[in-house]
Symmetry: C2
Subunit: 374 residues, 2 copies
């Protein structure tokens, strides 16, 4: 019978599941936060994902629950599981994407390479961490951060005083060493409930102001060893914490040739948007296959290079759609993906994928096409 996949959250990630769901005949249903969200077309309910009864009512009419984001509270998730609902990824896995301290502890147990880190409860502990790590650190709020929010580079224990004063009893911030990295990479894998795992080629990601700006797939100059190490890390995490669906592992490549895990996301992720047009199976289709417990699709690139450039902010005046004619006329090879969101400075409102045999050409075209929307 038709599989009904319920997505909690109506953002662009839910939106981009619509296309593969239509083609695969999956009945996609979205619990949106509001009317008029990106995934409006598939929205069958509007409500607060933190409210158990709202989520429970939504879950009643679907075969599996998955997510547009990682913010559904653990008690809601666990109540669903208690009701017998299929939840992918499940709460046991999702906790590691919800709390960066819990994630760091688990990765340490799994022996996954990561920056040196510590839980710091006050300015003194942070200062001690800084003193032990070359005079600086990255401090992160364990929960709720995204796109650079909740992340701060500090040089003194007092630089995070505001965050410490917001901590409840027993809570801590995450302190990490300032990694000297040459570039950032991302490794996508998908895992089915039964254990089947497939890995995408490791990609290079370029961040600006803490936000993903560009992705190049596969990562230029990646040696076979690097690709194997990255894939091994992705597989080890997916299996070690029992992820179901897509897992994105953000990585640092250091100047002493180590690969360290930066962050995890358990859903389709910006670093995997290239796969929509650049891989045999795009990450949104793959996520649907995985959470619906269907066999996974092939992950090879369809072109030597795929470049993804985010449209950040959109036009200062008018709608994104007003720029279509210009972008399409200049760049007929660009694949445009829009999120149905109003332009706002820094906001992710769409992206462009360009595939090709020549990396420089693809980068140039993708940047130029995306710039037509600004």
């Amino acid at each position: 019978m038709t599989v009904r996949v319920g997505v909690i959250g109506g953002g662009q990630l839910a939106r981009m599941m619509i296309a593969p769901a239509v083609e695969l005949g999956i009945d996609l249903r979205v619990l949106a936060e509001d009317e008029g969200m990106s995934a409006q077309l598939a929205a069958t309910a509007v409500g607060d994902y933190r409210d158990l009864e709202t989520v429970r009512a939504f879950a009643r009419d679907v075969d599996v629950i998955t997510f547009d984001h990682e913010h559904v509270p653990q008690d809601v998730l666990r109540a669903l599981v208690g009701d017998g609902v299929q939840v992918h990824p499940g709460p046991d896995a999702l906790q590691f994407a919800q709390d960066k301290l819990v994630m760091r502890r688990r990765l340490a147990e799994l022996g996954i390479p990561q920056p040196e880190w510590g839980a710091v409860r006050d300015a003194d502990e942070l200062q001690a961490f800084i003193d032990d790590h070359g005079g600086g650190a990255v401090v992160k709020t364990p929960r709720g951060g995204y796109d650079g929010k909740g992340v701060r580079v500090v040089r003194a224990g007092t630089d995070a005083a505001d965050w410490f004063s917001d901590l409840a009893d027993g809570e801590a911030l995450l302190a990490e060493e300032l990694v000297s990295f040459t570039r950032e990479l991302a490794q996508q894998v998908a895992r089915r409930p039964g254990g089947e795992v497939v890995a995408y080629p490791v990609v290079e990601t370029v961040q600006r102001d803490g936000v993903c700006a560009e992705v190049i797939a596969p990562a230029p100059g990646a040696s076979i060893r690097l690709a194997e190490v990255a894939e091994g890390i992705g597989r080890a995490i997916a299996e070690g914490i029992g992820v179901t669906g897509m897992l994105a592992v953000e990585l640092f490549e250091t100047d002493d040739e180590r690969i360290l895990v930066n962050e995890l996301a358990m859903r389709p992720h910006n670093s995997g948007h290239w796969s929509q047009d650049g891989a045999v199976t795009g990450q949104f289709e793959q996520h649907l296959r995985a959470v619906a417990d269907l066999p996974l699709g092939r992950t090879e690139p369809r072109s030597p290079w795929t470049v993804m450039v985010n449209i950040l902010g959109g036009p200062a005046e008018g709608a994104l759609e007003d720029r279509f004619a210009g972008a399409m006329a200049e760049h007929p090879e660009a694949k445009i993906h829009t999120y149905g969101k109003a332009p706002r400075p820094g906001r992710k409102v769409g992206h462009v994928n360009v595939t090709g045999d020549d990396l420089d050409d693809a980068v140039y075209t993708a940047r130029a096409a995306a710039a037509r929307f600004l």
Copy 2:
């Protein structure tokens, strides 16, 4: 602003416009014949496309009207145009896809190569045509035929007696010579209202029982000359009759190396489904671009070969979706497209696209994957 494209007809062609519409931020609205049609997700109205007031009400809330099929009556189309509605393709073009006699006359005026043909009003005229053309003919009802319906091979003037008796005064059947062809081809082009035309590579189509079964893109062994002739025919027809949107030209390749036009379709067409996964711009995206008067996308193949195999009929028991796990497990490279239709003998319920460097491999895989759904 967001372009609102209204599609009349809720079949699989409208359904397959949903994915590119979502990605391009086009507001797709469908006037479906019934509840539960293939394009249900985008259906904003249900009603009879032959009823002017129904169509008029639907057209009021969209920027452009296009079609899932060619059956909307001319008087309805012309009334919309009279109301100032953008209709693509317009009635002047669409008449040539609605009436095969009108099409033959126009192609003759344009000097397009086609089988010898005649309008026959009774058995005597048909017999005369047969006598002049080697003792046989293909007889077609000028209107309403599709997928082999309304087409009959005859050897005597009396073989179409039933169709003649159904003719109204002044009406005729279309008689065509029995073309000795080595294979069938199809040429897709897209044309914008302003005149921009792009052409896809010519493809080979394989029909079974009058229904498209397989498509190979590009047509194997096609010489540069053949490809140019086919593209030239496609462009000449699109321009000669002012098509807007996708145009599919079904062609015969004869054993004396001529290319003759068999049929026309002015919409995305089964012979172009390969382009969803095999071309830079799929025909459904291209159709939306063209009818919304947006610059057209690149049409090159993304792989040396793409093979499309229709899923005809579907499983004898159960739903198409029950076969997903088997098909996906055996053929992780196959791109599956389902139409949300109940299985029924001979019915088109989906198709599979496979791309690759080796034609034999792609044909084998596409057939094997499609067969998993039977």
